[in-house]
């Protein structure tokens, strides 16, 4: 980062004159924090502007201070009211009750107390049963979710393994990687990748993007050698095409292609139904 360039870019001037966006403000403050030279330049500019602004000082009317201070005081009081957690109990000085009054009062109070306790017991009991039921229901739900999560994790693990397989194939120096591009007008984004092992001649197809085939059709892979197509097998319909699949081996190939055939494949390719192709 050229500090001098930043200082001369004009952004500091815009900052002090209030002509920057929030994002730019944060940037300048950050730069100023990191680069002392920028801080110095910024501080100087800011000081000039502040002094200029201060030249226009004007005392507000004297009555305004009281008004403002009172309002700030109100704000403070309102805040304190809302956060008050201490509840002060009213003081009841009751020292002049006669003895009989006290007994009557105690008797009444104890009846009420029993009633309250009875109610509380019932209420608590009900609440306890309810909460026990709720707990059971929650426990069941939790179990279901755990199982679901478990299944999802398994799914992700599997996907991960498959991806890793694919990556290993691509990285294997023995494998020649051939990218097949679309040749089908109705599938402009179709593509697939072939890994062809130079030594074992094994062929893998993967990382493909092909339209979902109709129920009665299936994709088939071909190698083209000496102008003749060689059947390398059908692509498994039950797996997503992005996943790597092992196909048949071929000794020779000048190109690879995928066509859409009937389920189970055809002895020879339907050229009109070719989707992707790539030359070796």
């Amino acid at each position: 980062m050229d500090v001098q360039e930043y200082i001369e870019s004009g952004i500091l001037e815009r900052y002090v004159l209030g002509n920057t966006l929030e994002q730019e403000r944060k940037e300048v403050e950050c730069m100023s924090h990191i680069y002392p030279e920028i801080k110095v330049a910024l501080d100087e500019l800011q000081e000039s502007v502040n002094k200029y602004a201060t030249l226009y000082e004007k005392a507000p009317p004297t009555a305004l201070k009281g008004k403002i201070m009172t309002e700030l005081d109100e704000l403070k009081k309102n805040e304190n009211k809302e956060s008050a957690k201490v509840i002060t109990l009213p003081e009841n000085a009751t020292e002049h009750k006669s003895a009989s009054n006290i007994y009557k009062w105690v008797a009444a109070a104890s009846v009420i107390l029993f009633l309250i306790m009875g109610w509380l017991y019932n209420d608590t009991h009900n609440k306890l049963s309810t909460s026990q039921n709720e707990t059971i229901v929650l426990a069941e739900e939790l179990q279901q979710q755990k199982e679901l999560a478990s299944a999802q994790i398994e799914g992700v693990k599997k996907q991960n393994e498959q991806l890793n397989e694919g990556i290993a194939l691509l990285n294997n120096p023995e494998n020649k990687v051939i990218n097949m591009a679309t040749v089908a007008k109705d599938a402009p984004t179709a593509h697939a990748t072939i890994c062809w092992n130079n030594r074992t001649k094994e062929v893998y197809i993967g990382f493909a993007n092909l339209p979902i085939p109709p129920a009665n059709k299936q994709y088939q892979l071909w190698a083209i050698a000496n102008g003749k197509p060689i059947d390398l097998g059908v692509i498994d319909k039950n797996k997503p095409v992005s996943v790597v699949q092992k196909m048949k081996t071929t000794e020779r190939a000048q190109a690879f292609a995928v066509t859409l055939e009937k389920v189970g494949g055809s002895p020879s390719p339907t050229l009109a139904a070719m989707y992707v192709m790539g030359g070796v």
Binding site: N19, L64, E79
Partner: protein, 179 residues
């Protein structure tokens, strides 16, 4: 003109964050004139300016916890609150620059939108007169007018590059003024 504060800026900030009434009182005594000056210069209306000053102090009170040293000095921060509130008010009310002829408040609009902000203090006139008019105009349009550099370029008919250069020069000149 500014009374010395009985405590350091750091301590003042602490007290303000604690909603200490005395701290706010001192803050007002020391800075209200500077804030009111900016507000009034931008809005050119005493009554509205008083309302805005009140709003500004409330904003300071409510958002003091968002202030930190990275944003510059407390004074800078407060000036910005005052300036931003004023420009917001200006835009809301869609105020255009007015020509007034009250004794101390004379604002003149020259044909190509040079805007001069006069004040009633002799000291101010002396100092600002040392600035070249074209430089003062740039600073005033940006700072008190709230115009972006693009807007200044459009209003004055100057190329954006010229505006940028002039602003740079203006600030350099301003700095020399205060040395």
């Amino acid at each position: 003109m500014k009374k010395a504060l009985p405590y350091s800026e750091a301590e003042l900030i602490e007290r303000l964050k604690n909603q200490d009434a005395e701290a706010y009182s001192l803050l007002y005594d020391n800075y209200s004139a500077a804030l009111y000056g900016i507000i009034n210069t931008i809005l050119k209306d005493d009554e509205v300016a008083q309302d805005v000053l009140q709003t500004v102090f409330i904003k300071i009170w409510k958002s003091i916890n968002t202030y930190n040293r990275e944003k510059g000095t407390l004074f800078t921060w407060m000036l910005n609150v005052a300036r931003n509130s004023s420009i917001d008010e200006l835009r809301t009310k869609n105020k255009k620059y007015e020509i007034r002829s009250i004794e101390n408040d004379v604002y003149t609009i020259e044909k190509n939108l040079h805007t001069t902000f006069n004040t009633d203090t002799l000291g101010v006139k002396q100092t600002v007169n040392k600035l070249k008019p074209e430089h003062k105009e740039m600073i005033d349009l940006a700072y008190f007018g709230g115009y972006t550099q693009d807007e200044i370029a459009k209003q004055t008919g100057m190329p954006l590059g010229t505006v940028k250069t002039r602003i740079r020069t203006a600030l350099i000149e301003l700095r020399k003024l205060f040395k």
